[in-house]
């Protein structure tokens, strides 16, 4: 082998240059900082100022009103009641399911798992609409059956109540407890329980003294996430709560935007809302931190499955009941309503596709909403992953001052309910001379701000798996900073980044809580279209639109997944130079 002259160094005697990468790092940092300022920090600052000022003068009047007026105190109490019951019932459903799936020989465990996933992925406002069709006091199918068909009015159930609201909400939130509890139960090695038994503890004693304490942090943590999610859902609280006069924080804040809008009071209420959310999340972090001892010992653990004998059919019946209530009933109901000429006991005698024709071809909002929602979801997912990659990369691969602060700032939106994000954006963008209110852009900003934490976490995890030596060897081989990123970092991080993309896309395409305050007739989204049509009282077309929505969401997710997996030439990258 012949050798070239020497290294490409500087002329003799000159001082070395500062690496070009340092300047690039600073530029990336600046982009990330400006983005977070526009998306999160400035809107929050304006929200804060708006809550303590009136026409430019400081005042505490808004907080006084929010915390003393009976209307708002009731809304606060209702939100707390809703959240608490939802959390408790999420444990009541999620924990037995988790135990059945990870610790017993119950049949069809995969089916139980899929049930939980579908329940989580179903937009809660669709579940709410389905249950209205079954349990509204007069027109609900089940209520009619009980009252008119069986002559048992005592067996009717009014869904327009706190109980109805809790029922609908819990069907969406129990998967949080289920998923966390199942993974905790999986990671408790059988040897821990067997050690207790060999020392003389019986089955119940072992469960109470060993298994319970080991998984309790995960269960509580799941319940708190259920709480935070439950109180933030605008759709179900409006659909179920408003007719039943059960006002909650999101619906009260929403009502404050009726003419004349009360921005100051809405801001103060929003901050109260944030306070509750942040307290719950702080508790959740504490519980989850204590969970670490399970996962440490969890590597390659061997969970113990219990043979239930004939009892397993009883457990299975419970799982099936959850499936029927959380998945089968809502979807069958929406399907049935959407094809019935008039919803009622005899709906099956007169089936029609008229409502689909209407929502797809006559109701011109539909196509606009579909296009907007697809654009917004894809745009949000792409933007958040880009921003998340920048932030994750700065955090892990540079030594720039302020990188931890950047990381923390990007996680702030976790504590912001959707409607609060909308209020904050309105406060900010109505006060700067950039007319984006009422456009798709402001919704895009709202979504991007809301979901950036998901993308930051995904990007962080994706980059963390890449051994820095893989990047360093590209540098020493002669590739510059940008080339290294494009040729090594990005391809290796791609699966993780794509997972983050999907993680944002799925909630974004069904977003309602922030959109409801930000949309205009031109920037309407799918979820808002469903909600608006529902408000007109046209139950059958709403059901048709709901089904269309679900088809589009499912198709989009399937397509995105296929695109994300395709195009990869290389075989899977396990092992082979990756850090353990």
């Amino acid at each position: 082998m012949s050798l070239s002259a020497g290294p490409a160094t500087l002329a003799p005697g000159t001082a070395p240059v500062v690496a070009g990468g340092v300047r690039a790092e600073r530029a990336v940092m600046a982009v990330a900082m400006v983005s977070l300022a526009l998306l999160v920090v400035l809107p929050l600052a304006f929200l804060g100022w708006g809550s303590v000022s009136e026409e430019g003068r400081p005042t505490l009047e808004h907080f006084r009103e929010a915390l003393s007026n009976r209307l708002y105190v009731t809304a606060l109490r209702n939100s707390l009641v809703l959240g608490t019951w939802t959390a408790v019932l999420s444990i009541a459903i999620g924990l037995p399911l988790a135990w059945a799936v990870s610790r017993t020989d119950v049949p069809a465990r995969r089916f139980v798992h899929v049930t939980a996933l579908i329940a989580y992925l179903t937009p809660p406002y669709l579940t709410a609409i389905a249950f209205v069709n079954l349990f509204s006091p007069n027109a609900g199918l089940v209520n009619r059956l009980m009252r008119d068909g069986l002559g048992a009015p005592a067996l009717t159930f009014n869904v327009f109540s706190m109980s109805g609201l809790v029922l609908v909400t819990v069907l969406h939130t129990f998967p949080f407890v289920y998923l966390l509890a199942a993974s905790a139960l999986e990671s408790v090695d059988a040897s821990m329980e067997e050690s207790a038994q060999i020392l003389g503890a019986g089955r119940w004693r072992t469960a109470a003294a060993i298994t319970g304490p080991l998984v309790a942090p995960a269960v509580l943590s799941g319940a708190l996430i259920a709480f935070v999610n439950a109180i933030a859902l605008f759709g179900s609280q409006a659909i179920i709560g408003l007719p039943g006069r059960v006002f909650t924080l999101p619906t009260r804040i929403y009502a404050l935007f009726d003419y004349p809008p009360q921005y100051g009071l809405a801001s103060a209420m929003s901050l109260v809302f944030v306070a509750i959310t942040v307290i719950a999340l702080a508790l959740q972090r504490r519980y989850l931190a204590r969970r670490s001892f399970v996962t440490v010992g969890g590597k390659g653990s061997r969970p113990r499955r219990q043979a239930l004998g004939p009892a397993r059919w009883g457990v299975f019946a419970f799982c099936v009941a959850v499936f029927v209530i959380a998945v089968l009933a809502p979807y069958l109901t929406l399907l049935a309503v959407s094809v019935s000429r008039s919803w009622g006991l005899a709906f099956w005698q007169n089936l029609t596709l008229e409502h689909y024709r209407f929502v797809l071809f006559e109701y011109d909002v539909t196509r606009r909403a579909i296009r907007n929602s697809l654009l917004l979801a894809a745009g949000t997912a792409t933007l958040t992953v880009l921003l998340g990659s920048l932030i994750g990369w700065i955090d892990l691969r540079t030594t720039l001052r302020g990188r931890r602060l950047l990381d923390y700032t990007s996680l702030i939106p976790l504590g912001l309910p959707g409607i609060v994000v909308a209020v904050a954006l309105i406060q900010f963008w109505l006060r700067v001379p950039v007319p984006i209110y009422g456009t798709l852009l402001i919704i895009l900003l709202a979504y991007t701000g809301r979901y950036v934490p998901l993308a930051v976490r995904s990007a962080n995890a994706a980059f963390r798996q890449i051994d820095p030596a893989l990047e360093e060897s590209a540098r020493i081989t002669g590739a510059g900073w940008l080339r290294t990123f494009g040729a090594v970092t990005l391809p290796l991080a791609r699966p993780g980044l794509f997972a983050g993309w999907l993680l944002v896309f799925v909630p974004a395409i069904q977003e309602l809580s922030a959109s409801i305050l930000l949309f205009s007739s031109q920037s309407i989204t799918l979820a808002v279209a469903v909600y608006n049509l529902y408000e007109t009282g046209a139950l059958e077309p709403v059901a048709a639109l709901a089904i269309v929505t679900m088809v589009i969401i499912t198709a989009a997710i399937a397509l995105a997944t296929r695109l994300g997996r395709g195009g990869t030439k290389s075989p899977p990258v396990e092992g082979a130079g990756l850090a353990q």
């Binding site: 012949s2 050798l3 160094t9 003799p12 020493i476 081989t477 002669g478 900073w481 290294t484 990258v573």
Partner: protein, 375 residues
């Protein structure tokens, strides 16, 4: 010219000093090993040479160009060096061919030439025919060769290697050791090689730089570092060594010490030692001979009487433990053909030419940063 001059370089991480005022001269085409226990700063020094970090003090020059000062560094991609990482860092998403070709593609070399040069370098590292494979289809040794080929194909003037053999099994390690040495001879590239394995360092290097706690302890040819360690740290790190307590009887280069009571052993003494001073005689197990002593017989001049207390058969040799009259226990390498038994009285002879005398107490011997290049 690709000699490397490291000039009083210091690197700190927070309050810990990883490299402390270290100077080192690597000549063109030389194979230099940075040797030391983990945490001694050898990998930090290598990464300073590569330009992955800037020194806090001092400078690094290659030829006439200054590459690193506290004020700034030439970035790694503009140094024209190659580097082989401990875990190979073979890109898992690129085939063998693409891994090796990457550096040439970065340099915008014509496709036909890339193909030819990749083929040639794969031949050189015995990987011909595996170009389409992906790293996860290769053994550890093959991945190691891909990493080596990837560094060599761009024809660097300097190749940096960070414990490149430590993840291989013993047999493969020995073979790759030989291949590395062979490649270095054939290409004339300057190698800077980091390892904590002293046998690897002895086998490969033109010169060894022994490091400890961020400082250079000794810099010299393998034989010199092994037989004439500059201090106890080096002696200890370069392999098994007996540190035998002794007293000076006659100072000077033609000196003598008393060992195991009052048995005189003639050995060269460092300057500055008075008669009666306590010293330690450092001698390796293979530089001590034992002979069976007939019952009642006295030892000859220069030998010390002792008793065999332990014998371990290791195949090609026997590890023999002997206690001297004053209780000092030493280890001796014995040929398996020599018949010894536990409890047998023996005479112990120390090869004075292979022994070094250190002063008792804290480490005193100064490091030798600018030792001349061996013959």
């Amino acid at each position: 010219m690709a000699g490397i001059a490291i000039d009083r370089v210091t690197k700190r991480f927070g309050t810990t000093v990883a490299v402390r005022g270290l100077s080192l001269q690597v000549e063109d085409r030389e194979f230099v090993t940075l040797l030391g226990p983990s945490g001694c700063g050898k990998t930090t020094l290598l990464r300073l040479i590569a330009g992955f970090m800037a020194p806090d003090e001092g400078a690094i020059r290659v030829g006439a160009a200054t590459l690193s000062t506290p004020a700034g560094v030439v970035p790694p991609e503009r140094r024209g060096m190659g580097m082989v990482f401990q875990n190979y860092a073979v890109w898992p998403h690129k085939s063998v061919y693409d891994n090796v070709a990457f550096g040439l593609q970065v340099r915008r070399i014509a496709r036909a030439e890339i193909r030819a040069r990749v083929a040639r370098v794969l031949e050189l590292v015995n990987l011909a025919g595996l170009d389409a494979r992906y790293p996860n289809e290769l053994s550890g040794g093959q991945q190691q060769r891909v990493a080596l080929a990837r560094s060599l194909v761009v024809e660097p003037a300097i190749l940096l290697l960070d414990e490149p053999l430590s993840n291989l099994d013993a047999k493969l390690r020995e073979r790759m050791r030989w291949e590395l040495k062979d490649v270095q001879r054939r290409t004339g590239i300057t190698f800077v090689y980091v390892t904590h394995d002293q046998s690897e360092a002895l086998a490969l290097s033109d010169r060894i730089a022994v490091m400890h706690q961020g400082e250079l302890q000794q810099y010299g040819a393998p034989r010199e570092v092994y037989t004439r360690p500059a201090n106890r740290t080096v002696a200890d790190f370069m392999g098994l060594v007996n540190l035998i307590p002794a007293r000076v009887r006659r100072p000077g280069p033609a000196g003598a010490v008393a060992v195991g009571g009052e048995h005189i052993v003639e050995v060269a003494l460092p300057p500055g030692l008075a008669e009666g001073a306590s010293v330690q005689v450092a001698v390796r197990p293979e530089s001590v001979r034992v002979g069976v002593l007939a019952p009642g017989a006295a030892v000859g001049f220069g030998a010390v009487p002792g008793k065999v207390v332990d014998l371990t058969f290791l195949g090609n040799l026997v590890d023999c433990h002997v206690t001297l009259g004053d209780g000092t226990r030493i280890r001796v390498q014995v040929d398996p053909g020599q018949r010894l038994e536990i409890g047998l009285p023996v005479s112990v002879e120390i090869d004075a030419a292979a022994a070094t005398v250190f002063m008792e107490g804290p480490e005193m011997a100064p490091p030798t940063p600018h030792a001349p290049r061996p013959g």
